[in-house]
């Protein structure tokens, strides 16, 4: 029996893959989260009103999603409904997160796999000479920056936003700043579209080289965005079967009645399943579970995806292509939202804090994110965080097994396996800090 171990880079956090083989037969594939953050333990006894500032620190990559989920959990506990303007500003915040995250995953994490380099920050002389990679890096960072700047505009602080508060938001968005930012996004849209086009083309080339789009079996899908257009400030969760039928819709508080959550002894992260079935969350789930994106360029890309792969589409590497679609969508949607005035109405409603229980749900870039708090004497007695990455754990391990079986034979291990492991894991874009909160 042999154990192959693959440390991972270009993902968020510390993780590794272990593949156990015996005479060419793959016995198991494990995805291991190597660190333990432990926020559900750490927030015990913390005053409830301080959660929106503390929980973004679960993860600097997904901080915005945690910030908004936290505020929504408290609003649920206190029985408050935020005014429409606050909801728009929160949606902008979540779009900023989506832009930043999808641009990072596409260009910083997975583009090097397609270009055959260690990092887009490594530019060797020849590459700089022919300019391809160089140009991609420069434009990619520019697009990514728009996400960060949108988070700053809508959320105050740029990594750990502060502006969503119980009952609404603490201030509107200054019209001058909104207009100036909108112009920047409009000007950047063609660049983003071209980048996604390029990404799509080099992905096809990679597929031709490796001979697969990732041939795992069909899976169940889970998302909390709406079926008509993806709004990430969500209110219920849906599960879809591999044929595309919606088999369950439920609220955050019904999570544990509908899905199974379990810990494992080989990883600091847990995993979820739906009636014993493997699920997938993240971009491909959303693309499979929406009728349309609702913005012109993104819908063009979605049509292309469906024409080429049908719907629901299952190959693993399509997660990456769907991130491209969402990057364009988020930019277009931000332009729409920035067209209406964002400082002319009430930004918040009054409320009285009290003890109780609350559930907060948003669609984070990696899937449905739930915060669940029980408040006693004004402090958190139970803080639970249900992290999108854990919905993908079983799917990651199953896809790793398919990849391992492809590259391992009785007499040899094809060196391509190491790359395949990286590609599979990065397609799911796991977040280890979150998953081990």
């Amino acid at each position: 029996m042999t154990m192959l171990t693959f440390p991972l880079s270009r993902i968020e956090g510390h993780a590794r893959v272990e593949i156990e083989i015996n005479k060419g037969k793959v016995l198991s594939t494990r995805f291991q989260a190597m660190e333990k953050r432990g926020f559900s333990l750490m927030v015990k006894g913390v005053p409830a009103e301080q959660m929106p500032v503390i929980v973004p620190r679960i993860c600097g990559v997904c901080s915005t999603a945690h910030h908004v989920a936290s505020v929504k959990a408290l609003e649920d506990a206190y029985g408050v409904t935020p005014p429409p303007l606050a909801c728009i500003i929160r949606e902008l915040l979540l779009l900023g997160q989506l832009i930043q995250n999808q641009a990072t995953s596409l260009f910083v994490f997975t583009m090097p796999d397609r270009l055959g380099v260690e990092s887009i920050f490594h530019v060797t002389e020849e590459e700089a000479d022919n300019g391809v990679q160089f140009n991609i890096a420069k434009r990619a960072l520019m697009v990514r920056q728009l996400g960060t700047d949108l988070i700053t505009l809508a959320g105050g602080q740029f990594i750990h936003p502060v502006k969503a508060v119980v009952g609404g938001v603490s201030s509107g968005v200054d019209p001058g700043k909104a207009a100036a930012f909108q112009q920047r996004v409009i000007a950047a849209l063609p660049t983003a579209r071209d980048l996604v086009d390029t990404y799509w083309d080099i992905s096809i080339r990679m597929k031709d080289r490796i001979g697969t789009w990732g041939d795992d079996q069909p899976a169940y899908y889970i998302t909390s965005t709406r079926p008509d257009q993806p709004n990430f400030d969500s209110s219920s969760i849906r599960v879809m079967d591999p044929l595309g039928n919606c088999c369950s819709e439920f609220t955050a508080s019904q999570f544990f009645d509908t899905l199974t959550f379990e810990e494992t002894d080989y990883s600091y992260a847990g995993r979820t399943s739906y009636k014993g079935e493997v699920m997938r969350a993240n971009s491909l789930a959303r693309a499979n579970m929406t009728r349309r994106m609702g913005t012109p360029l993104a819908d063009g890309f979605l049509t292309r995806l469906r024409d080429e792969f049908g719907t629901p589409a299952h190959p693993i590497l399509l997660f990456d292509l769907c991130r491209g679609i969402e990057l364009v969508y988020a930019l277009e949607r931000a332009v729409e939202l920035l067209s209406s005035p964002l400082d002319d109405q009430d930004t918040d409603v009054p409320y009285t804090p009290h003890d109780g229980e609350g559930w907060g749900l948003v669609e984070a870039p990696r899937g449905p994110l739930i915060h669940h708090y029980i408040i006693e004497n004004g402090t958190i007695s139970t803080g639970e965080f249900i992290i999108p990455t854990v919905h993908n754990m079983l799917a990651i391990e199953r896809a790793l097994r398919v990849a391992a079986e492809r590259y391992i034979t009785a007499d040899s291990v094809n060196l391509e396996l190491e790359h395949a492991v990286g590609r599979v894991v990065r397609a799911f874009d796991p977040c280890i800090a979150c998953a081990t909160h």
Partner: protein
Amino acid sequence: MQPLTDSPSLKTKQLPQFAVLQLSGCAGCEVSLLNANEWVQEFELVYMPLVVSAYEVPCVDVLLISGGVRSDEDLYNLKRAVRCSKKIIAVGTCAISGGVANLGNRDEVRELFMSQTERRDLPRLLPKSQPVDAFVNVDLYLPGCPPTPELFMAALFEDDEFNPSKTVCQECGRKKLKDMKPKHLTGFQSGEVLPDICLINQGYLCVGSSTRGGCRALCTRPGHPCVGCRGPSDLLIEKDSIAWLESIQRVFAALTDIPLEEIRESLLSPQLALFLFQFSDYAATGRPPRPKEKVL
């Protein structure tokens, strides 16, 4: 701000080598660094697992360390990384004073940690999360949760021109009024904030008056009180946390009619304790103060 030059001769000059070691943290520091694009053309990034496939920390000219020391693996990586690196910069609150991880250092929580985190074949958690300088020497401290891209640039380029204000208050631009004296503190989550007027006048527990400048008052400008993530200003950083507590109390006494007891109690609440007092809690940790010349 151009992230990369178009010059093809990028590699012809010898660039200083640069690595980022991420211990237990949220990666927010790395995300912020990625927003500070200019270093890309001035340094050769040899190690930063978030963005580069590389598994061994090499010897480098500049080593940034983020995150706290939480597991035996963190400690091992830290000790290996500093062996042969020339300049060591601790970045972010977690690496410098513990940050949010300190919430896990409370005894009742430590017990839970220890009972719930046994895993076979994985890095083991240390009994407490600790800052980097509990184990190795640090040449420069860059506090912030996370430090802004501008601060990262200033630290990397040793920019003498970069002279931030002493405190967040001086960068904030909100006016302090003599005749608007709240009687009680407003909670952190209390909705709309008046523009241009000091948050203390509006009853918010803002600690910007004693907090190190340099972030350009990122939180207070859009209306959220400063929670002190940059740590104590130069005036206070070599003093014990009591000095900080008292300095904030004096500001509140001048601008509000809020009872001292109320302020004192709130200042000790977790959200503020996360950042504020950790930096200069010398009595509790027994470590010497960080000399102000070493803190950016």
